[in-house]
Symmetry: C2
Subunit: 240 residues, 2 copies
């Protein structure tokens, strides 16, 4: 490894309170969430240290962080690997995601300010355009924004954290639910049920609407379990 120059590297960073460790965490987490690092892939300390031009220490800390977050696991004497999610576990997570979102809708129905309600209604109406023109990728993004509006609207920081953490861990598996014919319009109608319930302050209906909305969505996503890399016995060093 080349000799480091802490001074120079640090100077370009310190001001933003970012450390090499946090950088690594951000990068690796992002890679995992976006599927660039498939479940089961081994996160080799020395390897990463070399690749990122740092020593093993910050790498270890970053990996520890990922493990604590649940994005990676620490197999006793086989190092750290990207979390392998069993089909059952995935189903469990989708189910809980639906419950969390239902709770968010419930809270939003009672906690949203008048302004927030207006904005939600307006935004929701806006998404109808994407549906009419069948703009799937657009709608995917709008869909995310829609849900985020609710996350904020429930005014509950802890629920916000849980929702985002769970969403991040499910991200690799949330794809292409809208490809199915008619799913786009159906999704909008389901959103509509939730929005109407929230607007009239009906917590139970909002929660119920969101729950059934997400159970159809996750049903489609459950097919994507097979994406995972089959590296269970994990040979030590696959010819580097």
């Amino acid at each position: 490894m080349q000799t480091q120059n802490p001074a120079l590297a640090a100077a370009s960073r310190r001001s933003t309170t970012q450390t090499r460790t946090t950088e690594l965490v951000a990068t690796l987490a992002d890679d995992i969430i976006h599927g660039r690092l498939a479940p089961g892939v081994r996160l080799d300390e020395q390897d990463l240290a070399a690749r990122f031009g740092v020593s093993r220490t910050p790498v270890r800390e970053a990996l520890g962080h990922l493990v604590a977050t649940g994005l990676a696991e620490h197999r006793p004497r086989r190092g750290v690997i990207v979390t392998v999610i069993s089909p059952e576990r995935l189903r469990d997570m989708f189910l809980v995601m639906a419950e969390l979102e239902a709770s968010a809708a419930r809270l939003a129905a009672s906690a949203m300010t008048a302004l927030e309600r207006r904005e939600l209604a307006l935004f929701h109406q806006g998404t109808q355009v994407a549906v009419r023109h069948g703009r799937i990728t657009d709608y995917e993004q709008l869909n995310d924004q829609f849900h985020s509006l609710l996350y904020v609207g429930c005014h509950n920081s802890y629920l916000f954290d849980l929702l985002n953490a769970t969403r991040a861990r499910l991200a690799p598996f949330r794809h292409a639910q809208f490809n199915l014919l008619g799913r786009l319009a159906a999704s909008w109608r389901e959103h509509d049920v939730v929005v109407q319930a929230i607007l009239r302050g009906d917590s139970d209906a909002a929660a119920q609407g969101m729950r059934s909305h997400l159970s159809t969505v996750s049903g489609a996503a459950a097919d994507y379990v097979a994406i995972q890399v089959p590296v269970p016995p994990a040979p030590r060093n696959p010819a580097r």
Copy 2:
């Protein structure tokens, strides 16, 4: 600091796959959860290293873990402190705990096996004795077990994790809800509503029953916010 002897120390440990880091995490987390380390207390690296007879490295890793878990926070250049929970945050957490428990009850109502239902009913009947004799401390423990039965009964590992994580973080604030006159009997009756709903497979009623049960409980616990240590500006070295 005395010179370490890694060999000896390691030998007494390695067999159990425990490292110094995990030891530290366990100890510190336990201390935080049980209130021996009050919110706002500074977790000084060198201090802890000296106290536990290890170097700063495992201490740092342990602290990182605690931070990732949410039990501690990492103030930019002021070190790590035990998480200070604002009254709003605490309310948020209690509210979400209620939602999570409601979800657990909902899932349990549809996922519990016949055997589990029988055991739940039996256990619940058993707790009535403690109520009749006003055995508060006994009932507190039975209450925990009761809820744990539901955690298991919903057959959802992810919800199980979230419930336990949240419960751990709320642990320092959950005390003495039962001291209030009549709370004991009321608690049992609320449990009873949930149990009956689960036994007849009524998910909605189970969820609703659990939600209202916990909202009364958390209402009582909300008074305990004041327990926290007021160390906000945190002077650098409070005379060690």
